[in-house]
């Protein structure tokens, strides 16, 4: 060790000690805990979708509305896919905190970027067939009674709003992924 350039810095916290090892045995880092918390929220949301839409699928099937039942069942399948994907790829990675700071930071950023970049395909796209099918089924049912013009008039705004929400969520994630890309590029230049 060379001599510290500013004594005012190294005089700080000179009496600090390490925690007792016993306190560490079961403790997760805040980072790991935050990832687990996020995943648990996603699992809860996924479970809610499965329960509510599963019940709807059963209800529509009971009413003989097989097309609507199938589209709702697609949404259930999408929720199960998304949650399992999150569990597989989004949980805290195997840790190697003894890697060099540059390598460790890069691997964390790449992992986050890849997850965000894939959101349109693995998080949003699975719900599209079910939602589009549901809108089509409901519109067709209304059209049988009131005609297509009235049916489309009643549904177009809701459909566009849903599509806009999906596009916005996708754009937001890709935008954040691009920011992470720039950070990774800056790291590579360092």
């Amino acid at each position: 060790m060379t001599q510290a350039p500013f004594n005012f810095w190294t005089r700080e916290n000179s009496d600090a000690n390490f925690s007792e090892p016993g306190a560490c045995r079961a403790r997760s880092t805040r980072f790991e805990k935050s990832i687990r918390r996020r995943n648990l929220l996603e699992y809860a949301a996924g479970a809610l979708v499965v329960v509510v839409f599963g019940a709807l699928a059963v209800f529509f099937a009971g009413e003989g509305e097989w097309a609507l039942s199938a589209t709702v069942a697609m949404t259930v399948a999408a929720a199960i896919f998304v949650v399992s994907k999150l569990h597989r790829d989004g949980s805290a990675q195997a840790r190697s905190p003894e890697a060099s700071c540059k390598d460790h930071l890069r691997s964390q950023l790449v992992r986050q970027r890849d997850l965000l970049r894939g959101v349109p395909t693995w998080y949003l796209a699975p719900f599209v067939p079910g939602l589009v099918g549901f809108y089509l089924g409901v519109t067709a049912n209304v059209a049988e009674v009131q005609g297509w013009a009235a049916a489309l008039e009643g549904v177009w705004f809701k459909f566009v709003a849903t599509a806009a929400f999906f596009v916005f969520v996708g754009w937001l994630n890709l935008h954040t992924a691009r920011k992470l890309d720039r950070e990774i590029a800056a790291l590579d230049r360092a």
């Binding site: 500013f6 005012f8 880092t29 935050s34 905190p97 003894e98 700071c101 964390q108 360092a190």
Partner: protein
């Protein structure tokens, strides 16, 4: 690796580096409670890591890498993506308020900590290690940056910090 060895490494690391890790946690996190939490996270990650320590590198390198990587994860988690100013991109660090040299040491520490929080993670790590008195070679080993890159950053740091705090107490020779 026996548990006894793991405890021994942990005790040794604590004896040598506990103050540096406390300073690292307080520099990376402004909130006092969160800083203490981060400090304990680093202790625990170190304890767990010593189960894998087989002398692959110096104890100091291992300790600093684990500590700085946990702190970097904390930064990522907090998502503080406010604009940062890289040491390589500027000759002048972000202003910390008053340009006068701090009369009180506590004030000087607070300003240095604020400066660290305004730097990108790798630059902040270089600055922290340099403030701890580590050589360019050791900083290079911990951070993974090339020695030349570290030397350049230290030179910029010296210039910037001399403006902020006056000349260093000791003229370090960059090795």
């Amino acid at each position: 690796m026996t548990e006894e060895k793991q405890h021994a490494y942990y005790r040794e690391a604590g004896a040598q580096f506990a103050p540096a890790i406390a300073r690292l946690a307080r520099a990376m996190e402004r909130d006092g409670d969160k800083a203490r939490d981060l400090e304990q996270d680093i202790h625990c990650e170190l304890f767990r890591s010593f189960a894998r320590f087989e002398g692959q590198c110096a104890l100091k390198t291992w300790v600093y890498r684990v500590a700085h990587n946990v702190a970097a994860e904390h930064r990522l988690r907090e998502s503080r993506r406010r604009p940062t100013v890289s040491l390589e991109e500027t000759d002048e660090l972000p202003s910390l308020g008053s340009g006068e040299r701090a009369a009180a040491e506590g004030h000087a520490v607070a300003r240095a900590q604020e400066m660290i929080r305004q730097l990108p993670t790798l630059d902040a790590q270089v600055m922290l290690l340099w403030l701890e008195g580590e050589s360019a070679r050791d900083i290079s080993e911990v951070t993974g940056l090339a020695s030349g890159t570290v030397a350049t950053r230290i030179h910029r740091l010296k210039t910037a910090l001399a403006d902020q705090f006056g000349p260093p107490d000791h003229q370090e020779i960059i090795r």
